[in-house]
Symmetry: C2
């Protein structure tokens, strides 16, 4: 069956899925969790085949690590599904209710987006996580995983499909592309796919955006900043910088550039240097930084680099204005922090920094769906439209306007025989 | 000054604009309304120059009509600004407030998108309407109008810019491109423009989408359907069909295809034919329709055609399933109606039809921001992401997460010395 036909079948199934109730979708999620547990031997065998092939072909160590799907990771995936079941249904939520006239009622009601295309790296846990998020939110899903994980992905997709069928969900809601079916073939299916979510590097996301007219929700990398203002508590600033940089260096919400107000630099930087030396972090400074502490020189390139490593670029700035300008120029719109004891300074920074997450006196590492209390998360969006920052189930739904009338026509209003009341209604959509 | 520099200046001004209060933006809108009134002679003269050139160059009649900006249209534009001033500020609205832990508070707050690129046809009133919507919502705007309206657009842009400057808004928030600066140059400015709103035909919107990686909010055409179910009130169905088709034929929410359940076709179609004949509407029917009433035959192409004219295609369907499938296949996701006395049938249709506006027992023509009570409107979006259906000020804002801490770091939570409370807060963001 060609890809176009497959995708059409997903679209058809998604229409049916959009009419299922919360109970039925939750029952399907329970069945998936059970089936994953029951088939753990087959899953781990398939993963072992992928791992062995990866080893033979010299897969780099970080990819190999991400590819591995052992008992522990499977158990985490199952636990994730169980907590997803407990989350509120994102579908059918009335966000606007208004009487336009007597017997003519307008409701804005959340509904699934339709069909989501997911393109992801080697991690098989991402397949389980994202496809179950799509099911919970009533969306069909077309999955394109990395070829290095093909056996694992094939087994997981089949198990998820069969288990959800067992709960009366049309099995075609999920479809995994074969290795030979390229990403490019997916990018032209704008009749069948409503949204593409790529999980990969910045350049990968950019490539996808450049090659499709389907909207892309970008989960790109992060160049996160911490700005230490003139009246910051030095101890707090060091503590926050240290956690932001070192608590987990390989993630998108880790700190990459530190900006320091010139009036506090002499006090703060030596203190910072001491702690960073202890943690094994290499500092790279602007000329002014290098005058105060003995560190290597940062180049222009450093301000736009996501190290994901024990490195931190440091710049002394004249004032908050320069800090904001630097962040809006070199940042990636992910997460930026100000450390200051001034509420006015914080308010100004939070208003002017053009990022999805703007923090006052806390670590960049809080920028995360679980820490925000969203339960499951699709990823972090650095785009500004639809969903921004950590994206939970809300990012996988849209809405439609339902207008319930009793025979009204526009001519009566245009010719002023009737007029609109536009009165708020205090109820959910009744149909 | 080259376009890249101009756009950079708009971005800078937009950052400043994003920190202005509602009062200041409303004051600027008042000044714009005053300035448009004071400069009416100059505006109408500029428009006359455009009209004369258009006449010499043989501008088609509908374009000429849209280009015309006379006293009446100017007064409408001024009234539009005054009603915009009365609308609630879309910026600074807190849509989520949650305590993550003591002294660590998360707020999701609405904010401007940034810089909006508008590409529009000849209508100068669109320039005034959209740029003031952008100002109200704190966004910078880059305008590219049609060359046939260049004199009018230049004068309007200058007046709006100067008037807003007079209220302390940085004048660079608005920038009109010159005729020689093509649309293509705008489409590559993904560093400076956050969203493009094209106002034009379907094929024009599609062209824009294919040539930029900037998100596009498509205000495309509408192929709207009315489905007359088996137990519809025949008189109501005729009344709704007639209004949907004839109240104003040249607009995107006018009816283009009528679907009729086979069990009511014999009763309904002759009645419809009588009224459509009176209104001068040409019907084009499927074979079954042609067996019941004497009309021309519809071709496959008719089901996908937006007539914007006194023509209506008619198809007899087996059941609601076929109607829904037809709409989801040939429709444009704009507005679709069911006429039925069955609540269950209505609920099913409203759930399964994949359009931004789904109506029960009323005319397609209600699909409009003013009738919905949104005040001003950007247009109707047939996309599913960000904003769908009639788009008001809400479609011109995004949000950011503001996290207010007192020195918290993630290590304390990762190492279980502290835990999250995730308690709802009942207040707006205090900074």
């Amino acid at each position: 069956m060609d890809l176009k036909k497959k995708a059409g079948a997903v679209r058809e199934a998604a229409y049916l899925l959009s009419t299922t109730g919360s109970d039925q979708r939750n029952r399907a999620l329970e069945k998936i969790a059970e089936a994953l547990a029951e088939n753990r031997v087959e899953i781990i065998q398939a993963n072992r085949a992928d791992l062995e092939r990866g080893e033979r072909q010299g897969l780099p160590a970080p990819l190999y690590k991400r590819l591995k799907f052992d008992e522990g990771k499977l158990q985490d995936a199952i636990e994730g599904i169980k907590s997803l079941i407990g989350l509120k249904d994102p579908i059918g939520d009335t966000s606007l209710a208004r009487e336009l006239d007597q017997g003519l009622e307008l409701y804005r009601v959340s509904c699934p987006i339709g069909v989501i295309g997911i393109i992801f790296e080697s991690r098989p846990d991402a397949l389980v996580q994202i496809s179950t998020l799509c099911l919970k939110s009533g969306n069909g899903v077309i999955l394109k995983g990395g070829s290095e994980a093909r056996e694992t992905n094939r087994v997981l997709t089949r198990i998820i499909r069969e288990a959800s069928s067992g709960a009366g969900i049309p099995g075609d809601w999920i479809c995994g592309l074969e290795t030979r079916e390229g990403v490019e073939a997916m990018l032209v299916l704008d009749d069948c796919i409503d949204l593409i979510i790529p999980r990969g590097s910045n350049s990968f996301v950019r490539y996808i955006m450049d090659h499709t007219r389907i909207p892309v929700m970008g989960h790109a990398d992060g160049i996160c900043h911490c700005y230490v203002d003139e009246d910051a508590d030095v101890k707090m600033a060091v503590h926050i910088t240290s956690d932001s940089k070192t608590q987990y260096v390989a993630v998108c919400n880790a700190l990459e550039t530190l900006l320091v107000h010139r009036d506090i630099a002499h006090l703060f930087l030596p203190e910072l240097k001491r702690v960073m030396d202890e943690k094994g972090v290499t500092l790279l400074g602007c000329p002014k930084t290098c005058q105060i502490i003995s560190v290597g020189a940062a180049t222009e390139e450093d301000w736009g680099t996501e190290y994901l490593d024990l490195r931190l670029s440091v710049k002394v700035v004249e004032n908050r204005d320069e800090a904001v300008r630097h962040i809006n120029t070199y940042g990636s719109g992910h997460t930026d922090v100000i450390v200051t004891s001034s509420r006015d300074a914080a308010a100004d920074f939070l208003a002017r920094v053009d990022s999805g997450n703007v923090f006052w006196n806390c670590s960049t590492r809080f920028s995360d769906g679980y820490r925000y209390g969203f339960g499951a998360e699709v990823g972090i969006s650095t785009g500004k439209l639809h969903a921004r920052g950590p994206v939970g189930l809300e990012g996988l739904v849209t809405y439609k306007y339902k207008l319930l009338g009793t025979g009204q026509v526009v001519a009566d209003y245009a010719e002023r025989r009737k007029s609109f009341t536009h009165a708020p209604l205090n109820r959910d959509c009744p149909v």
